[in-house]
Symmetry: C2
Subunit: 162 residues, 2 copies
DNA sequence: GTAGATACGTCAATATGGCTGACATAAATT
DNA sequence: AATTTATGTCAGCCATATTGACGTATCTAC
């Protein structure tokens, strides 16, 4: 086999970078009695207010049973609220409370600090190259609503969800 | 908390990129009856032959009990072998067998394909920017042996790795 | 208006992969 | 000889994921 056209360097850098990236949030979450699953849920709800449960399942790629347990805790403890959809009242649209927003901001702040440090010394072009690389790493065959928003907007992305 | 200089775009791109990156390997691993933990172990053993158990614990940042279960399976099924250290015979130096090498190559091939697609269209400078960014994302306060090798040898690879 | 599809919730059982604490053994170090 | 180190192992706990089945409210179509 014609070995080693392998991207060993990038493969391992991605492993270590992601390990430390999520590690930032882990310590804070522990103090709240939460895990990574809670972070992911409250993060995307805060970022895309009015997200449906089904959307969240698409984004996180987990089953509704797994989501249910975590979501229930976040609802019970007041980090997220549900509202019935106006058009379709079966839907439970999800919104972060002030408490939820604060938690997300705290965690994103830690991760932003790390990204800022990593971006320090990179030109604007280099920063765009990083974005382009990361976008290129993402599957495009089944773009759900949220992913679509991320992939299409280069750097103008805010809370304009339906 | 109110100041939104958050790097929302990079935070979410990293989430989706890593999700799909590890997803490549997951399907193959399933056919082998393995999980992500097995992949990580056999990967680093193949990449750094003669790795000690203690080194592996540093790299993966898990406990020896967690590692033990996974490592035992890989040993029993012939993906990895142990040899006593020549200088210190307490040590169990780990090596990938041909079977282990083949599995690692298969999984790295999938991930390399994805990286190649993502790198396609990026200049050499941009590719280096990506490496620099990923290195910058990694904690440096407690560099173990393997991580040290990656962080330093990575510079040399910038030249011979277009 | 009834039939069926859809959105969501929930119950029960199971697997993986982390964790802690305690203890054992062999070999190196002092 | 005593201690430290490298590793293995037992027993149990926790978080997070899985599948399958079933219930309920609500929307859509005929």
């Amino acid at each position: 086999m014609g070995t080693d056209a392998q991207r060993w360097d990038i493969i391992e850098l991605l492993f270590f970078a992601y390990r430390d990236f999520v590690g930032d949030a882990d310590h804070v979450l522990e103090a709240f009695g939460f895990g990574r699953a809670h972070h992911r849920v409250v993060h995307f709800v805060q970022r895309y207010p009015g997200l449906k449960v089904a959307d969240l399942l698409d984004v996180l790629r987990i089953t509704k049973q797994s989501l249910g347990r975590v979501l229930k805790q976040l609802l019970d403890e007041g980090y997220i609220v549900q509202k019935a959809g106006a058009a379709d009242r079966r839907q439970r649209l999800l919104f972060a409370t002030a408490k939820g927003e604060a938690l997300v901001a705290k965690l994103a702040g830690l991760q932003t600090d790390r990204i800022d440090r990593a971006m320090d010394g990179l030109s604007l072009e280099s920063a765009d190259a990083v974005r382009q690389f990361l976008r290129g790493m993402i599957d495009r065959d089944d773009p759900d609503k949220v992913l679509d928003a991320i992939m299409t907007s280069d750097r103008a992305m805010q809370k304009d969800r339906p």
